[in-house]
Amino acid sequence: MEIEKFQYDNKIVKQFAFATILWGLVGMLVGLWVSLELIFPTLNIIPMTAFGRLRPLHTNAVIFAFVGNGLFMGVYYSLQRLCKARMFSDKLSAIHFWGWQLIIVSAALTLPFGITTGKEYAELEWPIDIAIALIWVVFAWNFFGTIIKRRERHLYVAIWFYIATIVTVAVLHIVNSLEMPVSFLKSYSLYAGVQDALVQWWYGHNAVAFFLTTPYLGIMYYFIPKISERPVYSYRLSIIHFWALIFLYIWAGPHHLLYTALPDWAQSLGVVFSVMLIAPSWGGMINGLLTLRGAWDKVRESVVLKFMVVAVTAYGMATFEGPMLAIKKVNSIAHFTDWVVAHVHIGALGWNGFLTFGVLYWLVPKIFQTNLWSNKMANWHFWLGSLGILFYAIPMYWAGFTQYLMWQEFTAAGFLRYPNFLETVTQLRPMYIMRSLGGVLYLTGFVLMAYNLIKTVKAGKLLENEDAEAPALEKVYVKHGSEHWHRVIERKPIQFMILSLVVILIGGMIEMVPTFLIKSNIPTISSVKPYSPLELQGRDIYIREGCYVCHSQMVRPLRFETERYGEYSKAGEFVYDHPFQWGSKRNGPDLARVGGKYPNSWHYNHMMDPTTMSPGSIMPTYPFLLDKEIDTASTPAKIRAMMKLGVPYPEGYDKIANHDLMIQAQTIADNLKMDKIETVSDREIVALISYLQKLGRDLKVYHLINDKQAKK
């Protein structure tokens, strides 16, 4: 057999490693900042730094910039070694790297300016969505190219996890990002209401599954055996882990929509599969931890393994909690509260964060041909980080339960004990302070790591191209007797890819297709009318300011909810909502029934300074809405886009829409005048008020009509 000489590309690994550190720092800083805004609302100084705009930046930065670069670092390092081949093309590697950084920069340049689609974790506007798809294709091309020219016949389990990641993220991203462009930086989701919610959370949940979990499992399956110098505990278990995990994960999305207007059957389906998920998840965790059996002495000495053990443990905790949270009763406690925030941070800080740190501490010295500059400092990082996670998560669990208990408490007379929502928020302040402290600890550890690694890099020299040799793969493969199909597909990456694609498509299709095809899934309500042009403009301001980050529009059919907000939400109410705005967290009250609850003047004053209307409010102030003119030039295009999406405006309405807009705006301005508020009618505040007053109004009209008919 001929031995071939080749070189591994370490330069690209280094680039992704540096980007991971840089963006991790940025993403966590923004996270700390928004957490402080909940304690000191004055920090929402300018529109660009308001909570509603910055929190999406935090989540996007941590998920796609920090973990994204981290996973590419892990994949580019391990894939080359597992395939015994250099990456397929250095050029593609470079395009992938710089393209991804460009996407991150464009996210940072759009989200703070209110350019957003308003769909959580998919906030980036359509040109960036297209860029993401293209760069992902470049990554896939480079990835499969490498596999095809590999020198190792069989694909190790880590590579399967990477394949599932590439395939599924592509499907998720494309399906969820289908949108109708209005202008260069504005679009409406192709789906509306319940359908949009289902697609969004099918995406949202699987972004967690296939962006934050499967690639990191691949990294776990490569790096833990590699670093501890012992093979994975059970390769058989890893095979079952893989197939069961990707098959079950894709069904679980609807557990984000329990007790909402989503049809019951879809909710139940989500619950069943979420509960089953515990089996493969724990199989994976056990496999990771038991790989270290008999090597615990190494864990004591190696800071790298310490990080990894905590990471895998955090994975186990989060994946135990996930199925529990998917049970309806538990979900009714956790949903909309800080419990969910605690849960995701166990995953992000523990699983993704610590695994990334472990890989960085091991990999950077290795490719720079030196030792870690300071082991002591890395140990400090480990303890600061671990404490940070505890200080973060425990107060958040506490806050979640506190808020739920306050929401649902009734007095003996049958009234809500805490009818003022604000009370349930101000109560949480001490917990929020503790949480920020946790964030500071975690971030401090991160800064120590950055410093430590910079010192390491300075002391060493990058081995850009690492020499390696391996026998060439024989073209003709001689089978050893009869062979099993699974062994066959392990040699065939393309077939493997197609099989995993089929597996993940089935779950998604069974959940979504009925909701799209069967009309009776969304019973229409005759009185629900499309948004007027002014309301539509107001809605876009609502989306721009990220109001959905703190306010839900979904009253669940629970007594403590209907008592507080009014009638529970119906699927038919949302048929014109492109995109849906149900929200997922309540830092402020639900708004589904806010229409008609307060006079226009209340909203006017409240937007100018929320504390004048509700003392102690932590909502940002929006004085600029009082001065900024409504972008009426965009109205016709918006109406046309909505019509293309099936919203029944009359033919040619786009031409007269602004006329209607002005009339409605004038009515509101006149009404404000009666309360001694002078405003020009074409200001954004007027549009926003009209939208807020529309929320829940159509359902009231429906009941009015029905009552009248009943009387007759």
Binding site: S78, R81, L82, E152, H154, Y156, V157, A158, Y221, Y222, P225, K226, I227, E229, R230, P231, V232, Y235, R236, I239, I240, W243, A244, F247, P263, D264, W265, S268, K298, E301, S302, V304, L305, W362, P365, K366, N371, E466, D467, A468, E469, H484, W485, H486, R487, I506, I510, P514, I518, S520, N521
Partner: protein
């Protein structure tokens, strides 16, 4: 909103869950049986892929 309402509106719907159940039952059964029976030598080979590098020095 009971699931059964929507199901009844599809003609011959009974066959779909049956097909999918059988498909996945077979897939996972075969997978399980194979994973338990596959020969040890092969598993050892696969397990050692990440450790297999003669030209690298591993350091902790």
């Amino acid at each position: 909103m009971k699931f059964i309402n929507y199901l009844q509106s599809i003609a011959g719907v009974g066959i779909f869950p049956m097909i999918s159940l059988i498909m996945f039952f077979i897939f996972f059964s075969v997978l399980l049986v194979w994973a338990l029976r596959v020969n040890k030598e092969y598993i050892t080979d696969m397990k050692n892929i990440p450790l297999d590098n003669n030209n690298e020095t591993t350091q902790l």
